[in-house]
């Protein structure tokens, strides 16, 4: 089709705009990568832009050998795995009965769940509850309250509702119990949505610093995001004490940069899957609520 001059001009402008937008998104990363690989003198003098100057990998070796970093990493990995498993389990178990219309009182139970999306007791009453339950400085506080996620539950429930009825009914006639039907018929048919929700949970647990900031004061139990947050606020913290500048060709700035990038890596690894499934998930969520 023929384009008018103004349309051509617009296309040029539009493409240029998106190239710039993409660069704006990527530049901070490129800059940070450059800094994490640059030598001490180059970083201190503020010369590093988009390429490393005085290339070195000592910063990464330092971070990856640091006990505090490794400890925080360990907590985060455990949290992401256990939290995702528990969250997926509880959320799926809840979604199934709520997807069956023969469940009497279904509407009321659903309302009970959805109401918590609109109204909450707030930070302080929740904090006092955790204190009363003895969950302060305990790992479960980081995943148990988040295990029942109403938004995720609704997505799974909607998916279950879309499945064809036939298989389930014939299983019922054969005398299979509801639990049996869920595990041997419904779940194998629902792997795509289960994978999606597992990723939802894993990313949420990996990225959460706020819960840990409220409930965890024990240094041993702090997950990676909280550790990084404290690293950003006080760049002269414990982490950097053991004479960084003397022994290594690096700076606190480079160490921050390397730590941030290392914490981002897992997200980058799952990003291709995330993009595919999250787009679907967000659409289901926004259309059906």
């Amino acid at each position: 089709m023929k384009q008018t001059v103004s349309e051509k001009l617009f296309n040029v402008f539009n493409c240029t705009f998106f190239v710039l937008l993409g660069l704006t998104t990527l530049l901070p990363f490129i800059n940070l990568i450059a800094k994490s690989f640059s030598s001490e003198s180059a970083v201190i003098s503020g010369k590093v832009n988009l390429l490393p100057i005085g290339f070195q990998t000592g910063t990464y070796l330092y971070v990856l050998q640091n006990d505090m970093f490794l400890n925080a990493l360990k907590t985060s990995v455990i949290l992401a795995i256990v939290g995702t498993a528990v969250g997926l389990f509880v959320t799926t178990l809840t979604a199934y009965p709520l997807s069956r219309i023969q469940l009497r009182g279904r509407k009321w139970i659903l309302l009970l769940f959805i109401f918590t999306m609109l109204f909450s007791g707030g930070l302080i009453p929740t904090y006092l509850l955790m204190q009363a339950l003895g969950l302060i400085n305990e790992l479960p506080v980081l995943f148990l309250p988040a295990a029942i996620n109403v938004f995720n539950m609704l997505i799974i429930k909607n998916y279950f509702e879309e499945l064809p009825d036939g298989l389930e009914e014939s299983a019922k006639l054969d005398g299979a119990s509801n639990v049996r039907i869920l595990f041997s018929i419904v779940l194998p048919l629902s792997l795509p949505v289960l994978a999606t929700i597992a990723l939802f949970f894993a990313v949420a647990f990996w990225n959460d610093y706020f819960t840990a900031m409220i409930y965890i004061t024990d240094q041993e139990l702090k997950p990676l995001q909280l550790f990084l947050k404290e690293l950003l606020v006080a760049s002269s913290g414990e982490f950097l004490k053991d004479n960084v500048d003397a022994a290594l060709n690096t700076t606190p700035q480079s160490i921050q940069a390397a730590s941030i990038l290392l914490a981002t890596l897992p997200i980058l690894f799952v990003y291709p899957f995330l993009q595919k499934y999250f787009v679907k998930g967000v659409l289901v969520g926004s259309v059906k609520g």
């Binding site: 008018t4 800059n31 609109l118 909450s120 009453p125 509850l129 940069a257 993009q275 967000v282």
Partner: protein, 322 residues
Amino acid sequence: MKSETASPPGTTPATPIKRGFFAKLAADIRRDWDLYALLIPGLSLLLLFKYAPMYGITIAFKDFNIFDGYAASPWVGWKHFAKLFSAPDFLHVFENTVIISFLKIGILFPLPIIIALMLNELRLMLFKRVVQTVIYLPHFLSWVIVSGLFIDLLSSNGGLVNKALSSLGMEPISFFLDNSVFRGVLITSAGWKETGWSTIVYLAAFATIDPGLYEAAKIDGAGRMRQLWHITLPGIAPIILLMFILRLGNILEAGTEQILVMYNPTVYKVADVIGTYVYRMGIGNQDYSFTTAVGVFESIIAFTLVIAGNALSRKYLQRGIW
């Protein structure tokens, strides 16, 4: 739609005689007991972690102290709420919250719509997909990471932005310590993180517009601009309004998780919002009753706004969030 499941063999079909809800429920539970049992874990977590704190709201009406506990702490009525509206502290924080929220809505709400419209005009599918992949990414990073990126980018020692400023002959700016620019930092970083991702809903809405309308417009000689104005925009208007209502419900949530990572005492004056204030006064200073009152105030306003927004949406747009 699912039909009512037939009674399993061996049980008599439900009699048409009218029975009470609970009698029917009891019969159902006896028949499908395992289906009801599946609800137990989720329902117990919900009651424990979501509903028990709602009972905890009562301490907003008491002078709570940890030794007396919930029951024994003395009732004080509306005292903490009265304090809320007279404390200059809170009024200041409230003002910050509203200002930051309005700035975010005013600037960051239209942005994804414009960018989605522009993305929609990209004809090279591969290029479009690459752009989408790149601009969705920041959504998946935590606020800690985003904050780290911006601290580095805006630092006055070798930060790219300040280098650009000085090459233009301008003075370097301490973005994170300057009361006159810090709100700008908050809004820019929030935009950087979420704008790309927010385009998804609008891009999906474009797909629901009848392609026949565009064909007809082309035959009538309408250019792309006219098509955008007369077909695309009206086509996504309901979604825009819906998103706007949802956004309004969050007006008192100015970005607590973001601000908690990015702010510092130097910029409290312009960046301390309700969420951060409750965190510092509640968890930090253990002023439990007062901060619970603040939280209740916030929850009730948010709840009212969503309910009212939904009612308006149902009345004027014939569609609601639920």
